[in-house]
Amino acid sequence: MKKRILMGASLAVALFNFTAHAAMLWSPAPAKHGHGGHDRHAAKSYLLHDGAGASIQLINPKLNAMPMTAEQGRVSVKAMGMDNYHALVATRSDGSHHESAVRYVYMFGKPSGESPSLLMGHEKAALELEPAPYAREHWRYLTSTDALFILRFKGDPVAFADVKMTTGNGTRLEFKSDAEGRLSIPLPEDFPAVKPGRMGNRPAEFVLSATHESNGKTFATTFSADYHINPDHWQSTPLGLAVVGGGMLLGGLITWRSRRRKEKK
């Protein structure tokens, strides 16, 4: 319990450190009382950093939006009875500067009957980093793999724009979108310690931020998600190939023996 609170606090400190100079963003909130256990319908809490004055909404897979309120920057997302990805969106505007922060949250419930493509492609803010695609079930954002996005402004791709990435493990990198607004972000191998097995390693956060100017107005957006250590650290393909080879030899042996037995008969 104490360990979890400590880890949550250090995650918040780490995020504060790398967001101090950045825009509004979402991160998972450290657990208040233990953790939600394995209850898939338990509420999930998120912190909105630098989000004073922002309006918040949760958009479900059918694109119905529900206004949310933050208490000391903390938002509790409860299961709304609908399965699949929901978008937690914070927006703020002072007339000339428009900001947004987006995070996708998986909620359990009845099948929505809608594809997450609908929610990902839906315009949630003027400037937006659209996952293309988002890491779906049985897949996650992993170190040493590329996360793909499209930077869009009012639905249109933004070409050759600068996008910054910061991670909870201290990596800071910059990327540029291509002519179609596409971004391929290599997730860094920056975890300080690797334990064997997925359960032994907690994920870290990565945040992408982009800005854009149009008609004298500035737009800023962030996308945040967690990423995990690549299982290549404890899963060996060469060994796997060797065992498949062993299985093939065994198969050959079984075939040869059954043939010999038949010939003897």
């Binding site: 594809s115 493509s117 899963q235 060994l239 065992v243 093939m248 075939t255 010939e263």
Partner: protein, 342 residues
């Protein structure tokens, strides 16, 4: 015999199309699960294949038993939120299964098709094939599919959810399923072919998976459909086979006892089909491939039907043409070296 009249050729074309769709289909139906067909497909299509169009019913079933039912029993909170997802999975499976029955095995399963293709390669490589397994061996293998379903799909995931065994055994069938390795390899991924060294449990499961895959690669060359005989989906299909609309029926005649060509043609070595006097001969091990009907020489004795509509009925003329086509296919091969020696 024209190819378009040959049921086995038609089946191979359907199998190929199903294989392409189930392995690469997300290109057409989208990347996310909700874009897919069902999320509870009654054949071994795998969610670990990044391009899959749908995934196997055994995946949600194991997860729901392990992550929902087990913890709910532990907590004493057994409500609709626990039972509904399981009923939705089984209901989806059942709707599809009623429509096509066991043809999911014989006509649509990617792993079944792969084994049959390997068998054809084995024939062309002139390997000495075992056309029918020994009766005693068949009898010994048959209970394995029930063990796979009971132990790997139901009991161990549930025991993991209840906390009796480790989380390694939360989805043990997926961990050893050869279709996971096969379909992800065909999708261009090597990431499912591994030995996991993170714990003893994961290591044992990954060794079993890779050994099984290697075994299937070799055994399929000389034996008909080795994995299908122990597949837990074959057992799950067997439980519901009476509700499916596709039927395999027989009008027993006294000639059946002497003939036995249907049993010889059966890739699953179901010898009972030629001795059975029952009308409904859809046996637990049947994959509804239809070969028994094709190779029955008597008019109207065997038939595959969709509800009451006949799909194929045994016919002496079809039998003659099919037999000729089979001999032509086999005749193009030179006899195997071992046969020469004999």
């Amino acid at each position: 015999m024209p190819l378009w009249k040959n049921l086995s050729v038609i089946r191979k074309v359907v199998q190929l199309l199903a294989f392409l769709f189930l392995v690469y289909g997300s290109v057409f139906v989208g990347f996310y699960s909700a874009d897919k067909l069902s999320g509870a497909f009654p054949a071994l299509a795998c969610a670990y294949d990044a391009k899959t169009a749908d995934y196997c019913v055994l995946i949600p079933l194991q997860h729901q038993l392990g992550h929902l039912l087990g913890p709910a029993i532990n907590a004493g909170a057994f409500g609709l939120s626990v039972i509904m997802p399981i009923l939705t999975t089984l209901g989806t499976f059942l709707i599809l299964f009623v429509l096509l029955n066991k043809t999911f095995c014989g006509w649509l399963c990617p792993l079944g098709f792969f084994q049959e293709v390997l068998g054809m390669i084995g024939q062309k490589l002139r390997l000495n094939r075992t056309e029918s397994l020994d009766d005693k061996l068949v009898d010994r293998i048959r209970p394995a599919k029930w063990l796979m379903l009971g132990l790997l799909v139901i009991l161990l995931p549930l025991a993991s959810g209840l906390g009796f065994v480790g989380h390694e055994l939360g989805d043990p069938f997926c961990k050893i399923c050869p279709s996971r390795i096969l379909t992800s390899l065909f999708a261009g991924q090597l990431n499912q072919l591994y030995i996991d060294t993170s714990s003893v449990g994961f290591m044992i499961l990954s060794i079993i998976a890779d050994l099984l895959f290697g075994l299937i690669l070799v055994l399929s060359l000389t034996m008909r459909q080795p994995f299908c005989r122990i597949c837990p989906l074959l057992a799950m299909h067997a439980l519901f086979r009476k509700v499916g609309l596709v039927k395999l029926v027989k009008n027993y005649t006294s000639r059946c006892d002497k003939c036995g060509l249907c049993a010889k043609a059966c890739p699953m070595d179901i010898r009972e089909i030629h001795t059975s006097k029952e009308k409904d001969i859809l046996m637990p091990d049947c994959t509804l491939c239809g070969r028994c009907v094709e190779f029955c020489p008597d008019k109207g004795v065997m038939a595959m039907k969709y509800a009451v509509i006949p799909i194929i009925v045994s016919d002496p003329q079809y039998f003659k043409a099919r037999n000729k086509a089979q001999k032509a296919w086999e005749g193009r091969q030179k006899p195997s070296r071992r046969s020469n020696k004999a």
